[in-house]
Symmetry: C2
Subunit: 260 residues, 2 copies
């Protein structure tokens, strides 16, 4: 019994970190599709195709549940994956939407993410499942991912980037959803610029949702107390290890290169 | 008789534009590998594999010469492509190096490009073919490509990005090679910040080199006076058309989606 977690690349490690906290004794396989990263500006059709290939790979490893630890793949492919595969598959958007609803006081919520995530309107859809009377302000922030991958997390440049995208929001929203798994690394910088805005990172709630589902489906095994996560990438093992530590806050010992 | 031009995506259109100027009456096939863009942080092995697939596709279309209109693919795969395929194949780096040598007065040359291009050391190698006694300053500028694709070509943010990477250079070099086909769109912004630095865009010289080679090999046909370029992409036809105009400075009417 084990859990498969995937992302277009490295960002999903922010979700993996939270899953490890609530489910420390489960076997986990993580796949980062680093050969084809980023997904954020690609078409729905392509992202569905890539996601299917990844889920098939993880199922061959014997996983019993899948976490789509990527907002873009959740937004564009989760519905289709659920239709095709029988194991529980959860994404990051529902948890993020729910947390935002529980956080906001003025019912004005900001959502930031990749172009594909924002264009999909999935966060808006999920938020309105919980409440109709909210105002939602959405914006794609395409420079955030390259800034994070460069390790540009504080200082003049990242502040200028953040302000370019978010200054519009500051008088409006009281809650901001980080709708991309890279963005939690900018949380401190955003918080300093806009201390009155509550920042929602969907990773924590996603991990708790996963635990609930596995419990309900009797898929929790608790049988791998010292098991390390098994990591697979489709390109660039060394880069994954090197940057991964920034996201995971622990060392990645071993990564296997695969071709999809 | 026709010419194949390829890039990881859209940047190669800056090279195509120059080729069209010097060879307006040749048939041209352009392929942008938009499903797998960007190449700039991927491994050599992967980029060679992708480039081979693309050259095979273009050869099936009947092209007699290939232009690798991508600095990263030139840096990492040109040598291997030339060993495998028999048609003339030219990249963008040699022309850029030669132009820089002919431009510099203080023999201090800056080279900027993607991480993979800079790491390859190919510009340095080519520059030193021409002259040993030059100082070469190299830097990867990973935020330039996303800034350009966002259309952030002037203003406070792009100035901050440019200064972050290039302020180190300003007292040193008199010549700067734009070692990535996206960067010509930042030429004006760079020029305003550093008016004393001569900027070299390898595209023009590459196009002239191509003409010379085709002449020498008797491959010039001059038989397609009103032929439009045939465009192929591996994802996102609409985005390619929309952003393409910024690079090509003319409309792209028709794009065909292919899978490699």
């Amino acid at each position: 019994m084990s859990i498969g977690v995937f992302d277009s690349g490295i960002g999903g490690l922010t979700v993996l970190k939270e899953i490890r906290k609530v489910l420390p004794n489960e076997r986990i396989y993580y796949l980062g599709d680093t050969a084809r990263v980023p997904y954020g500006e690609k078409t729905k059709e392509l992202i569905i195709g890539y996601s299917k290939e990844i889920v098939e790979f993880l199922l061959e490893k014997g996983v019993n549940a899948i976490v789509v630890a990527c907002n873009t793949a959740t937004a564009l492919a989760l519905k289709e994956l659920k239709e095709i595969f029988k194991v529980p598959i959860i994404g990051v958007i529902e948890a993020g939407a729910r947390t935002a609803i529980n956080t906001t006081k003025n019912r004005k919520i900001g959502v930031i993410g990749t172009k594909a995530t924002i264009k999909s309107g999935k966060y808006e859809e999920e938020i309105r499942h919980y409440r109709i009377d909210v105002e939602i302000f959405q914006k794609a922030c395409p420079l955030f991912v390259p800034a994070v991958e460069e390790g540009i997390l504080s200082g003049k440049l990242v502040n200028q980037i953040i302000k370019t995208y978010l200054d519009d929001f500051k008088e409006k929203i009281d809650t901001l959803i980080l709708g991309c798994t890279h963005y939690p690394l900018l949380k401190d910088a955003i918080n300093k610029l806009y201390p009155d805005i509550e920042i929602v990172d969907p990773a924590k709630e996603t991990a708790l949702d996963l635990k609930d589902i596995l419990k309900k489906e009797k898929l929790l095994k608790n049988d791998a107390p010292n098991e390390k996560v098994k990591y697979y990438v489709t390109d660039g093992k060394e880069k994954f290890k090197k940057i991964g530590i920034m996201f995971l806050e622990e060392n990645i010992q071993k990564v296997e290169l695969i071709r999809l």
